[in-house]
């Protein structure tokens, strides 16, 4: 034993020294990996196309060559010589905000019911809602595509919005329910003793208390709807005036006529709102994302 202890402590020192060097190296490497693509995106959106083609490896901008025309080009309407992203932004906003409002309207009462009220089939319904989350969306894409083609809803933003609500409401209920479960029942019981009806209790006690969860949920829904691609592609591809930003970018990325730098400006426009929202709400969101996982 007496020989083992110093050996172990040598190994200990070696490992600790190695880790002290390795740790910052790993952190910097991870940061570069995570952020460099975004830096590259912003950089290219301000670089003139010919400068990119001449010198593709450069990672900085010289002051003289900063180009803002890419943003003008990508936002301007098609008949004004641009790519019409301004319209896409409006469509994306409409769909995303519509999804948020509709989804919260149905999910908040639903989550309250699943958390608080004993009714027939309560547990089966929550299991069903959770299962929805794990279904391959391509499996859902087939019948919805056929159904929408048949009733003529394909190409409309309303149709897309309904699909989003159906997909997100279930998850939303799951997340909100977890939060409602953490609110002590005694508050509601006190209000009930004071003569409040169930709906009054819900509106006056539970809703205000659940506000942080509802806000973070709203941001979560907004991000999902803003980023969504498959259903937008499936339903809207033939209707350019109804394209969302995601769809517009992906469709134009395939064509040779639109310069890469212009589309990089489009990427920045698509990404920026999400990153701003994320940093505004980071604390809430990360709490929300792990809320389901770290109960035990």
């Amino acid at each position: 034993m007496s020989t083992a202890t110093p050996q172990r402590s040598i190994r200990n020192t070696v490992e600790e020294r190695a880790l002290a060097v390795l740790r910052p190296v790993v952190i910097v490497a991870l940061l570069i990996a995570a952020l460099l693509p975004f830096y590259y995106m912003v950089l290219l959106s301000f670089r003139p196309l010919d400068s990119l083609l001449r010198d593709p490896g450069r990672l900085w901008l010289s002051f003289s060559e900063i180009e803002f025309s890419t943003y003008r080009d990508v936002l301007a309407p098609v008949d004004g010589g641009g790519q019409g992203f301004f319209t896409f932004i409006q469509n994306s906003l409409l769909v995303a905000l519509g999804t948020v409002v509709l989804c919260l309207l149905v999910a908040v009462p639903g989550a309250y019911a699943v958390s608080r009220l004993e009714f027939f089939g309560r547990r089966k319904i929550s299991a069903l809602f959770l299962a929805v989350y794990f279904f391959p969306s391509i499996l859902l894409a087939v019948p919805l595509f056929v159904f929408y083609t048949r009733i003529g809803l394909r190409g409309s933003l309303i149709g897309l919005l309904l699909v989003y609500v159906a997909q997100v409401a279930a998850v939303s209920i799951y997340m909100l329910r977890n939060y409602f479960d953490t609110i002590p029942q005694s508050l509601e019981e006190a209000a009930a003793i004071d003569g409040c009806s169930r709906l009054q209790v819900m509106r006056r006690i539970s809703l205000p208390l659940a506000m942080p969860a509802i806000v973070s949920n709203a941001l979560f829904i907004f991000m999902i709807a803003w980023n969504e691609f498959l259903f937008a592609l499936l339903f809207l591809v033939e209707r350019r005036d109804n394209w969302t930003v995601s769809l517009g970018l992906s469709q134009l990325a395939g064509s040779i006529e639109v310069p890469t730098t212009t589309l990089m400006a489009g990427s920045v426009i698509l990404t920026l709102p999400i990153i701003v929202l994320f940093f505004l709400s980071e604390r809430w969101l990360t709490g929300g994302l792990t809320a389901g996982a770290e109960k035990g």
């Binding site: 172990r8 190994r11 200990n12 490992e15 740790r23 790993v26 952190i27 991870l30 990996a33 995570a34 693509p37 975004f38 590259y40 995106m41 990119l52 593709p56 490896g57 149905v106 009462p109 639903g110 608080r116 009220l117 004993e118 009714f119 027939f120 319904i125 069903l128 794990f134 279904f135 391959p136 391509i138 499996l139 894409a141 087939v142 019948p143 056929v146 083609t149 048949r150 159906a166 409401a169 169930r198 991000m223 980023n227 498959l230 992906s250 890469t260 589309l263 990089m264 990427s267 698509l270 990404t271 999400i274 990153i275 994320f278 980071e282 994302l289 996982a293 770290e294 109960k295 035990g296």
Partner: protein, 336 residues
Amino acid sequence: MSGGGRGAPVLERPTEERSRGRRRRSSSTRARQDARTGLALISPTFVIVLVMVVLPILWTISLAFQNVRLLNLRTTGIIGDYSLDNLRAVLGSDGFVNALVTTLVYAVGGTAAAIGIGLVAALALRRPFRGRGLVRAALLLPYVAPVVAAAFVWSTALNPQYGIVNEWGTGLLGWDDPIAFLSSRSDDLSLFGLDLPMPTALLTVIAFEAWRSFPFAFLFLTARLEAIPDTYEEAAGIDGATPTQRFRYIILPQLVPTIAVLSVLRFIWTFNNFDDIYLLTGGGAGTEVVSVRVFNYLTARGDIGAAAAQALVLAAILAVLVGTYLRFFGRSEESA
């Protein structure tokens, strides 16, 4: 969602039942009212999910057994000619089996890489330092950024003509030729004089998947790491355990249940993934996964029956895989 989490509601239920029983005795009208209110509150969501999710899935099953094309869509109804033709054609075709193998490789590779990187990140950021909150937030960006923008940046950066990766690779790292990361099915990698064939495009999409979803694993593992009391490690340190030993025998066992849950979640999502591969390669160069194949059958070929059949097989295989996993590992996880 972890083993302990699943246990928690079971513990709560008896007391809940008891209090409900007490309430029923004192005021059964309130319980009945609650039941009615509950149903009323849940029904809007239930109806939407029923109409937009459950019924369509049932309809997919029906479509999978009919000969439906986009062209004859208007004439097909619930009562059609049912046959096993679609399933037989799908299961017998090389293309589908290949796509299934690609999907599996993609899902396993993407899941393992994402969790591996996430674990390294969580461990590296475990000890507090100035600006750690900001670093954490920055590492989450790949996960929240829109997939279309991320894929576009990656495909531009990997472009053989004007992409930065190939420019630096040929200029600084001494590559002989630019690598067509997204359109080359296979390249030989020379390693110690050996030429190993590498599935370039498939590895690239797996790398993209790892880049995009490691933050998810990082987030979960960080939360779990923070819940481990420092005292265990301190005690082991006093007993002479080195950092790697402390990780192996103290930290890792605590993380296993979380890693198990993460593996299931990430596997399911990667297995079903459509966006990433469609946007990066369009399913070319040996990266055609089942989701992309279903999409092509649905839109380009308009063969709805075959598309439905393949989507169904995909879902069935996923269900079997996850079911088997839970059966074998779910229980040991519960006891862990």
